[in-house]
Point group: C2
C-alpha cells in the first residue's frame, strides 16, 4: 500500500573518520523514501531549488518513488554540512543553509490525499499537522521530530503528535519530550500524549518499540565498518513504515498485530545498518531486497535464545 | 557443579542520585558468588581484615557459599568509595584503601582444587594465573580484568588469559585490549588471544557473546529505577558462570552447546539487572530463583520476533 513521505530533500557535506564528501544527496525525505521503496510504493512531498541535479532525480525515480509532490522553485536546495567525531557518536554542524526549504509549505497533489500510510520527517510541527489534515483515508500516520521543536515549539508539537499513530525519536529526545530520564517512564508518558506506538532509536545500541501492552527491544546490528551514520535514523524510519505499508494492516488504531510491528522494527534496524555502510545514500544504489531479507535473518540468528 | 570464585571482598562507600551509603558489603568476589549461588554451590577465595562483620559472613553463608577459602588476617578490609554521575553512566573514585588486599596471595584449600568451574574476578593477572595453576580438574575457567591491567601489565595479562576458556570484559576494555575501535574486529582479535568465549558487557545497553562461529546480542533489561549500578558487572558474571556450572557441561573447550551459552548470557543480564535495583548487595537478601526465572522469561518476551 502506498506511503506518503514528507520532509527535506537536501545536499549534505559530510566528514567522517573515513573521508569527506563536499556535496551529496541527503535529507530526511530522501533517506526515508529510498529505504521505504524496497517495501512499498512511496510518494514524496518536498521542495528543491534550481540546482537539484538530474542524476539525483533519476536515483529517486529508479526506486519507483513518485515525484509529483517534489516541488522545484527558484533558489538553491537546502544545504547542510557537518563533521563526525572519531567514534561517530557525535557530530558538529558546520553549516545550515535552509535556502528554498525556509519557505516550504507542503501541498499534497490530489493523487496523494487518499493514501493510507504517512511518514512525516522532521520539519516544523505545524507543517506536519497541515499535511496530515490534507489527507482523508489514513490508516497509520506518524513521524519524527527533534530537540529544537521539543524545546522551543512544545505546545505546537504536542498538538501535532496528539493525532499520530506512531512517533519515532531517539533516546535523548524521548527523555526531553517526557521530562523523565528513565526510558520506561519516558515511554509511558509519551504514550499518553497520543501515539499508541513509540519507537525509540538508540543509534549503535539498537531500538525499543513501546506499546501499552509491553515493549520490544532490538540490539544494534554489529557493522564491520561504519562509514557514515548520516541518514541512519531516517533509513530506520523508512524500513519501519515501509514494511508496515507493505503488510497493509487495517485502519484501527490498534489493528496491527504485535509480531508485525516487531518485524517492522527489525526491518528498520536493517535499513539503518545498511545506510551506514557507505557515504550518504550510496548503499541504496546497489542494495537489493534479497540482501535486506538476509540481514533480517541474521538479526534473528544473533538474538534468539 | 561447584564453582570457585576468586577476587575482592570489600566494603564500599557509594553515592548515587538515589542516596548515599557510607559503608556496605561489596567487592567482585562477593557479587559474583552471591549471584552464582542461585544456580550452583560457590566456594570463595578472598581476604578480609579483623573488621569484617559477622552479619556479612552470615549473608554469604546463608547463600550456601563455602567460606573455607575466606582468609581473615590482621588489619582492615579493602575499602572503596565512589560517586556516580546523574545518569549513572560514569563514576568517580573517591577513595581506594587496599588494606589487607594489598598482600592478597590466593591459596586454595584442598577441597577447592579439583572443582570444575573457576571464575577469576578482577585482580592482578599473575595472581589469577597462580590460582588457575592450583586447580587440577577444570572444565571451564576464565575471568574478568580491567583497564589498569590491560595498560600497565599487558604481557602478564596476555600470558594469563591465553589459558582461559572465557573472558568477560566491558566494551571499552575490549577496545583497549584489542586495539580496535570496532567491536566485531576487537572480538576477533581477542578470540585469537586464547579464550574461545568472549562476553562483552555494555552496561545499560546489554551484552554480546562472541564465539568463532558467530555472536549473540542481548539488549539491557529496562529497569524502572536504577538505584546503584555497583556490582552489576560482577553479578552478570556470577549469573553467567553460575548457570553454566549448574548445567554442568563437559571439559572440552568447545563442549558447551550454543543455546546453553546464550541462556547463560541472559541469566547474566538478569542478575546484573536485579543488582541495580537496590544499594550494594541488598537485592540478594530477598531475591528468589522464581523471580530470576520470571525475568528470564520477560527477556524472552521482550526480544523474540
Amino acid at each position: 500500500m502506498c506511503l506518503v513521505v514528507v520532509g527535506s530533500v537536501a545536499y549534505d557535506g559530510v566528514e567522517t573518520p573515513h573521508g569527506k564528501v563536499e556535496r551529496m544527496l541527503g535529507g530526511a525525505c530522501t533517506y526515508i523514501s529510498l529505504a521505504a521503496s524496497y517495501f512499498t510504493p512511496a510518494k514524496i512531498v518536498a521542495v528543491v531549488g534550481e540546482d537539484f541535479a538530474a542524476e539525483d532525480v533519476d536515483l529517486l525515480a529508479s526506486h519507483g518513488i513518485d515525484l509529483e509532490g517534489l516541488e522545484r522553485v527558484p533558489g538553491k536546495t537546502f544545504f547542510w554540512a557537518g563533521v563526525y567525531s572519531q567514534d561517530m557518536n557525535d557530530r558538529t554542524t558546520l553549516r545550515t543553509d535552509l535556502n528554498v526549504f525556509a519557505d516550504f509549505r507542503p501541498r499534497l497533489p490530489d493523487s496523494y490525499r487518499s493514501q493510507p500510510y504517512l511518514m512525516l520527517g522532521n520539519i516544523q510541527p505545524a507543517l506536519q499537522r497541515s499535511v496530515r489534515e490534507q489527507m482523508n483515508g489514513l490508516r497509520f500516520a506518524g513521524g519524527d521530530t527533534m530537540n529544537y521543536w521539543i524545546r522551543d515549539y512544545r505546545a505546537e508539537l504536542l498538538e501535532t503528535i496528539r493525532e499520530w499513530d506512531f512517533l519515532l525519536i531517539n533516546d535523548s529526545e524521548a527523555r526531553m519530550l517526557s521530562g523523565s530520564p528513565n526510558l520506561r517512564h519516558a515511554a509511558a508518558r509519551i504514550l499518553d500524549m497520543g501515539p499508541n506506538t513509540l519507537v525509540v532509536k538508540r543509534g549503535e545500541y539498537g531500538a525499543i518499540l513501546f506499546r501499552r501492552e509491553g515493549h520490544f527491544m532490538v540490539p544494534g546490528y554489529l557493522l564491520e565498518e561504519v562509514f557514515d551514520p548520516t541518514g541512519a535514523g531516517d533509513s530506520f524510519a523508512g524500513g519501519f513504515i515501509g514494511y508496515l505499508a507493505e503488510q497493509g494492516f487495517s485502519p484501527s488504531k490498534d489493528g496491527i498485530p504485535a509480531e508485525v510491528l516487531r518485524r517492522a522494527v527489525i526491518y528498520g534496524s536493517v535499513m539503518g545498518s545498511f545506510c551506514c555502510e557507505r557515504f550518504g545514500v550510496d548503499r541504496f544504489r546497489t542494495l537489493t531486497r534479497a540482501e535486506i531479507d538476509a540481514r533480517f535473518q541474521e538479526f534473528k540468528r544473533a538474538t534468539e535464545f
